[in-house]
């Protein structure tokens, strides 16, 4: 199957999935207990007339499908509606917070990729005590939830040593300040995934080392470091790449916890607050964006896999 046909087919599939997801996202909030109108009133009792006015303004009294399709139509035009809590357009809220989250997730991803690959490779190539150290270290990393890591990091590096700020995102103080503020959150976010990726890399490399072609390359006088790079690490990339979808989705989910723990004003924190205050439009918008990012990453991985392993053809069904 050629590249273009595959891409178009996958994009159509993504559109259908996203449509289904939008329905679930919208429906879930509709079914959730609590009424946005009462939240808007802030617990004050209001006259039936005022209540009716609010319901009219937010179309809360329309039938479910009418509400859904009105919302969907607006979303397709880039309008996510107005936040009930902040009384501003959701798209404006997102625009001011998305860069922070993107930087945080990007920094965490960088740590995960660099450290995860390096540690996995180190353990697999060195063996012995080095490998044991990697195994023990990754066990701790995998066993530490990101919010626990957040507290530990804050205690050590922010409170005790004072190297990094304990909270805030530093947005509006320049890029350097943002990186400085987001370092601890990024480490907390990355820790579990560094362990996971190191494990995946290590076992994929150990498996690749068993390949006869590795012994053959050695028999042809190829220097050892080139064998590791060209025949072992290269052949381990397939399994590593397939974990990319898992890595990105975990980052997006855990950023909610980490942003809250570090009071970083990104979309993760926004999602947490919006969910507790029944801020329908905001939760729906963020959920859709996260789903969209996740699907995009998997799409890109699918496109990249044939480049990593020429035996895989685009769109071929995997043999179960």
């Amino acid at each position: 199957m050629n590249f273009l046909r595959f891409a178009v087919r996958r994009l159509l599939e993504m559109a259908v999935t996203l449509l289904g997801a939008s329905f679930v996202v919208f429906g879930a909030m509709y079914l959730a207990p609590g009424n946005p109108a009462s939240f808007l009133l802030g617990g004050r009792s209001a006259s039936p007339a005022a209540l009716e006015a609010i319901e009219k303004q937010y179309h809360l009294d329309d039938p479910f499908f009418a509400q859904y399709f009105r919302w969907l139509g607006n979303v397709l035009q880039g309008d996510f509606g107005r936040s009930l809590q902040y009384r501003t357009d959701v798209s404006e809220l997102l625009a001011s917070r998305l860069p922070t989250t993107m930087l945080l997730v990007g920094m965490a991803l960088l740590i995960v990729v660099v450290l995860g690959l390096a540690l996995g490779r180190f353990g697999a190539v060195r063996g012995g005590a080095a490998d044991t150290t990697v195994l023990v270290g990754t066990t701790f990393a995998i066993g530490t939830p990101s919010f626990v890591a957040a507290i530990l990091l804050q205690g050590l590096f922010a409170v005790q040593l004072g190297w990094f700020p304990s909270s805030g995102s530093g947005s509006g103080e320049g890029f350097g300040s943002m990186v400085w503020h987001l370092t601890l959150p990024a480490v907390a976010l990355a820790l579990y995934l560094v362990g996971l990726l190191a494990r995946v890399t290590r076992s994929a490399m150990l498996e690749a080392m068993e390949g006869e072609h590795v012994a053959v390359a050695r028999s042809r006088g190829v220097p050892e470091r080139h064998i590791i790079r060209r025949h072992v690490f290269r052949n381990a990339l397939g399994p590593v790449l397939t974990t990319a979808g898992l890595i990105v989705s975990t980052l997006l989910v855990c950023t909610v916890l980490v942003e809250s723990a570090f009071s970083v004003g990104g979309i993760g924190q926004l999602l947490e607050r919006a969910a507790t205050t029944k801020d329908f439009p905001t939760v729906q918008a963020i959920s859709l964006i996260i789903i969209g990012i996740f699907m995009t990453v998997n799409f890109v991985v699918d496109l990249l896999l044939p480049l990593v392993d020429p035996r895989i053809t685009l769109g071929a069904r995997s043999k179960a």
């Binding site: 006869e212 072609h213 042809r220 006088g221 190829v222 220097p223 060209r230 290269r234 020429p310």
Partner: protein, 329 residues
């Protein structure tokens, strides 16, 4: 100077009672083809791998293995790389497993000589094209991945790859076993052509006696880690002087013979966990006498033909006793 000269090679592996190779002597002269024949586990593959010092983990080797006058067993890492790049190369059994499926064929061909700075990338590519054409492929194969060509073509690629560093010695370890029969003949004749054209010596490891007879100048027969018989191919097959060689020949199917049961060799080769005294073949041998289990036979030349040696106490009885005799299997 002989291209390959193995003397008294003894190889011990961990957790074994006796050496897996026990005093192997083997020589291959320039441009000569020698077949190393034996059944599975006889040590023929291990012998050929020792020539490139591809030893199993924990193996201890004694004796000398000289390639073009240099002892492989005492080489430094640098010398060993040099040997593997430019002096001796191996054609492996299964090209599908031996060539990295994720890299292009051109990459396989050129990587060793380029990474060791024997040739520049441009020169290596030119040589790769030349060799691909020599083995009957075109330069288009350079850009292909191994999964895009057939097994026979891939074995041709393997042969071309072995010749990249212009080696003096080619080692072929059952190079046709993984291929189908029609491709086998092509690959064997190609190996012969390449040996001729590029002037290499060839050590051909096989369990196939017919193939050995067809390709080689001389044949060495291995059993339980020892060379039991060695000699010019035609002479050895016409007048075997070791009962094992004779039994192997008798158990080879002959299309001209009337149909009937094949003759098998009774018993099993000796286990590596057992110590051996005397001749390793004695328990399975129809000629065995008391001396065979007490004293290990030494290689001795045939009367009137010093090039033909056999390690058997009863070589001289073989011609008379076994002639026309059938052993019930």
């Amino acid at each position: 100077m002989t291209t390959l000269d193995i003397r008294g090679l003894r190889l011990r592996l961990p957790h074994t009672a006796r050496p897996v190779l026990d005093g192997v002597d083997l020589a291959v002269g320039p441009r000569e083809t020698v077949a190393l024949v034996g059944e599975s586990g006889s040590g023929k593959t291990l012998t050929s791998r020792t020539v490139l010092r591809l030893l199993p983990e924990g193996a201890v080797a004694e004796g000398t293995v000289e390639v073009a006058g240099q002892d492989v067993l005492t080489m430094t890492a640098k010398e060993l790389r040099d040997l593997r790049t430019r002096t001796a190369a191996m054609v492996f059994q299964d090209p599908r497993a031996a060539i990295n499926p994720l890299r292009r064929i051109g990459d396989f061909l050129t990587e060793s000589v380029v990474l060791n700075k024997v040739l520049t990338s441009a020169a290596a590519e030119a040589r790769a094209v030349e060799l691909l054409e020599a083995v009957g492929l075109t330069s288009a194969a350079l850009r292909r991945y191994p999964s895009q060509v057939s097994g026979g073509m891939l074995q041709r690629v393997m042969i071309a790859g072995s010749l990249m560093g212009d080696p003096k010695l080619l080692l072929a370890d059952e190079p046709t076993t993984a291929l189908d029969v029609t491709t086998q003949a092509e690959v064997v004749s190609l190996l012969g052509d390449m040996r001729e054209r590029f002037g290499t010596a060839l050590l051909f490891v096989t369990h196939d006696l017919g193939l050995a007879a067809a390709i080689s100048d001389r044949v060495s027969v291995m059993y339980a880690g020892r060379i039991v018989e060695s000699g010019p191919a035609a002479e050895l097959f016409a007048h075997p002087r070791h009962p094992y060689t004779k039994a192997l020949l008798d158990s080879t199917p002959d299309p001209d013979a009337p149909p009937g049961r094949l003759t098998a060799i009774e018993g099993q080769p000796p286990d590596l966990r057992e110590e051996l005294s005397g001749c390793p073949f004695a328990p399975r041998c129809v000629l065995a006498t008391a001396v065979c289990t007490e004293q290990a036979p030494q290689a001795a030349p045939a009367p009137g033909n010093p090039a033909h040696t056999a390690a058997c106490h009863h070589s001289d009885r073989l011609g008379t006793r076994l002639e026309g005799e059938t052993v019930d299997a």
